[in-house]
Symmetry: D2
Subunit: 226 residues, 4 copies
Amino acid sequence: MIKEREIENKIVKTNDIIITSNEVETKMEKVQEMSMIYRSAIKEITTKLEVLDGEFKVKRKRNPIEYIKSRVKSLKSIIGKLERLDLEVSCESARSNLNDIAGVRVVCSFLSDIYEIAEMLKSQDDITVIAEKDYIKHPKPNGYRSLHLVLEIPVFFSEHVEYVPVEVQIRTIAMDFWASLEHKLYYKTFEDVPISITSDLKECADVIASTDRKMQEIQRKVEKLN
Amino acid sequence: MIKEREIENKIVKTNDIIITSNEVETKMEKVQEMSMIYRSAIKEITTKLEVLDGEFKVKRKRNPIEYIKSRVKSLKSIIGKLERLDLEVSCESARSNLNDIAGVRVVCSFLSDIYEIAEMLKSQDDITVIAEKDYIKHPKPNGYRSLHLVLEIPVFFSEHVEYVPVEVQIRTIAMDFWASLEHKLYYKTFEDVPISITSDLKECADVIASTDRKMQEIQRKVEKLN
Amino acid sequence: MIKEREIENKIVKTNDIIITSNEVETKMEKVQEMSMIYRSAIKEITTKLEVLDGEFKVKRKRNPIEYIKSRVKSLKSIIGKLERLDLEVSCESARSNLNDIAGVRVVCSFLSDIYEIAEMLKSQDDITVIAEKDYIKHPKPNGYRSLHLVLEIPVFFSEHVEYVPVEVQIRTIAMDFWASLEHKLYYKTFEDVPISITSDLKECADVIASTDRKMQEIQRKVEKLN
Amino acid sequence: MIKEREIENKIVKTNDIIITSNEVETKMEKVQEMSMIYRSAIKEITTKLEVLDGEFKVKRKRNPIEYIKSRVKSLKSIIGKLERLDLEVSCESARSNLNDIAGVRVVCSFLSDIYEIAEMLKSQDDITVIAEKDYIKHPKPNGYRSLHLVLEIPVFFSEHVEYVPVEVQIRTIAMDFWASLEHKLYYKTFEDVPISITSDLKECADVIASTDRKMQEIQRKVEKLN
C-alpha cells in the first residue's frame, strides 16, 4: 500500500539531490506552515466578503455577489511557476516572489458589480492594495476576462502578526462560465492545441462578453421600471 | 421591536378570519413539520449527488458536476402557487398537489453531462421517477432551458418511512447564468415588463444556448486530442 | 396554513397597541439589520479563532481548542432580558445595553488552555477588551464555571465601519458538558425546581470541576514523559 | 521543497521493495478509490443521522443528539492495524478485514439516548447490522465506555452499488470528554506510561461514568416536573 503523494515525490527526487530524513521533516514542516499562513489569509478575506454579502442580503434589493470560491495554490503549481520564472525553488522564494499563492474568486451578477465590490475591498482600513490588473478592459489574448487585485491583509497568529498577500479575482457569472470550461478543456492536454480550437474559444469568449453587456443593459432598463 | 413569538401566539387576523392562538400554534407546527420532511428529502438526494461527485473526482478525467444547490419552496411561494392553481390552501393540499416543494439544482459543464447525470439518478434502486420535462429540447417561451425530473425517495424517520418527491433541475452553467439573471431581473418587478425587454432576454437565451453547443463541440475536439 | 408574511404585513395586535403594517415592516427591518451586524461580528471573531486553531494544528503537539460554537441571542431572549432589567424594549436599547447579543463559545481540552486562549485574543491589535468575568475562580451559585470576555471588534460594511461587542465564553469540555445538560434540564421547565434537584446539579458541577483538575494533573505528568 | 507525505513514504520504502512508478500510480489510485468509497458511506450514514436530528428539533421537547463527527481511518493507521493483526498489507486485505475504516461518532446528552439512537439506526430497512459491542455495560480495562455498531449500507455509484461497513460509536458527552482527553494524552507518547497515570485515568473514567448516571437521574426527575 503506497502513500498518496508518492508521485509528487518523484518530481522532487528527480532533482538528483539526496536529502536526509531530518531535512525532509524540516522542509515538510516549512511547507505545511506556509500553506497554513495562506489558508488563514484566505479566511480573513473571505470573512470580509461574507460580511458584505450578509449586508447586501438585508439592505439591498439585489445582492451583487453570486458566490465566493477560494484555493491555496498546490505545491505542484507553485514549483511549476517558480521553475518557469527561473527562480529558486523554496518556500522563502515562493513567499517573496509569488502573489497568487492565496486566491479568492468573487462571482458577480452584472459587469458594474465587479467594480463596486473592488472599491469596497480597496477602501477598507486594514487592507493594502499591492497590485491591480483589469483584464476586462484589456482581455488576455485567449479571451480571458476578470478584474485581478492583490490585497495584503494582517493575520493574527498566537505570537505575531503576519501581512499576507491574497489575489482576488472578480468576474461576472458569464466570465466565470468561459474560464471554468477553458480550464477544464486544457487541464490534461499535453499536446499542442490546434489554432482552430484556440480561435473557436476566443470567439466564444467574445460572444459571452457581448451577452454580459446586453444583460447589463436589460438590468438597467428593468431597474428604471421599479 | 416586535416580539416574534408574540406575533404567533397572540390573536392574528388574516383573511378576515379570527383564529385563536392555539389554532395558530397547531398550524405553525404542521408547517414546520412539512418543511422538515422536505429538507430531509433534499439531504438524501444531495448526498446521492455528492457520492457521484466524489466518484467523478477520483475516477474521471473531468467531473461533469460543477455545483449543487437546493432550497425548500418558501411558504409564500407555496401559498401563491396553490392560489394560482385554485387549490385549497393547506399543508395537506400542498403535499398532495405540489411536486416542487423540495428542489435540487445540479449545474453541469457541458450539454451531454445533463443527460448522463439524469440517467444515473433515474437508475438508482430506491428512487422512483414521478415525472420528467425536457425544457432543453422544448425551451419555455421566455427562453428558459433545463431538464426537470421529479424523483420520489424514501426518508427514514424515527418511527416511520416517508416517500417524498423532490424536483431535480439539471442545467449547464450557461443555462444557469441566464436563469439566475432572469430571476434577479423580475424578482421585485410588479409592473408589466415591456415587450422589448422580454424579447431582448429571449434573444440572450438563444445566444447562450448556441454558445453552449459551441463549447460542447470544442470539448469533443479537445477530448480527441488526448 | 398561516401566511408567514401575512402575519408580519397585516395588522398585529401586541401589548394592546395597534400598529400599522408600515410600522411593523420598518421595525422588522431594524431587527434584521441588528441581527446581521452581530452575525458579522461573530464571523470576524470566529475567523480569528479558526486562524489560531489552524496554527495550533500545524505548529503544536496538541491543539488546545476542541471546538467553537456561536449564536446570536434570539429576539425572545433579548426582549426578556431588557424587560427583566427594566429597560426600554427597542433595538437601540438592546444595542447600547446588552453585551451578549453576539456570543462565541470556545471549548478547550484542559483548564490552563482557557487562560492561554484568552490572552491570545486580548493581545490582538484590533480587539478592545470591554469586560472580563472569571466564573472559574468564582463559580456561580448553581455551579456554573466559564471564563467570560466581552471583546469589541471593527466590522467593515459597504459604507462604514461598526465597532461591535461579542461575548466570548471559554470553557473546558467538562464545564461545557455540565452547562449543556443544565441548560437542557431547565429549558422548558416553568414550574419551580425543588431544592433537591438544584443541589444535586451543584454537586455534579463540583465533581466535574475536580475531575478537570485531575485531568490537568495527568496531562502535566504525561507531558513530562515526552 | 518537499512533499508533505514523504515521511509516510519512508515507512513504505523500508519494506525493501523497489516498485516502479507505474506500480506506484496504480496503487495510489486504488488507495484513493478505497478512501472515496468509505467517505461516501460516511456521508450516507451521516445523512440518516441528520434526518433524525432534524426530526428531533421539530418534534421533540429535547434533542438527544448533541453532535455528530466522522473520519476515514488514515492510511498510516490502516497499515499499522493490518501489521499488528499480522495480515497482508493491501487495499483488498484492508477492505475485507477491517470494519472501522469508516467511522461515525454520535454524541448524546444522556445514557438512555444512546440505546434509543442505536435502535433507530438498526431498524432502518436498508441497513444491515454486522456487529455490536457494548463497552458501556462492559467497559474496556482502561475505562473506555461507548456503544459500537458496525452497520452495512448500500452506496450507489455511477455504474454499480457497493455495500460498505461503517463503525458507529454512540456515547454521552461525558464519555466523549474522557475519550478525547485520553486520546490526546497518549497521542504522541512512545515511552511506557507509568501505572500510576493509567490508574489515575481509569479512576477519572469511573467518576465520569457515575456523574453520567447522576445526570440521567436528575433528568428523569426534571422530566416528571413538566
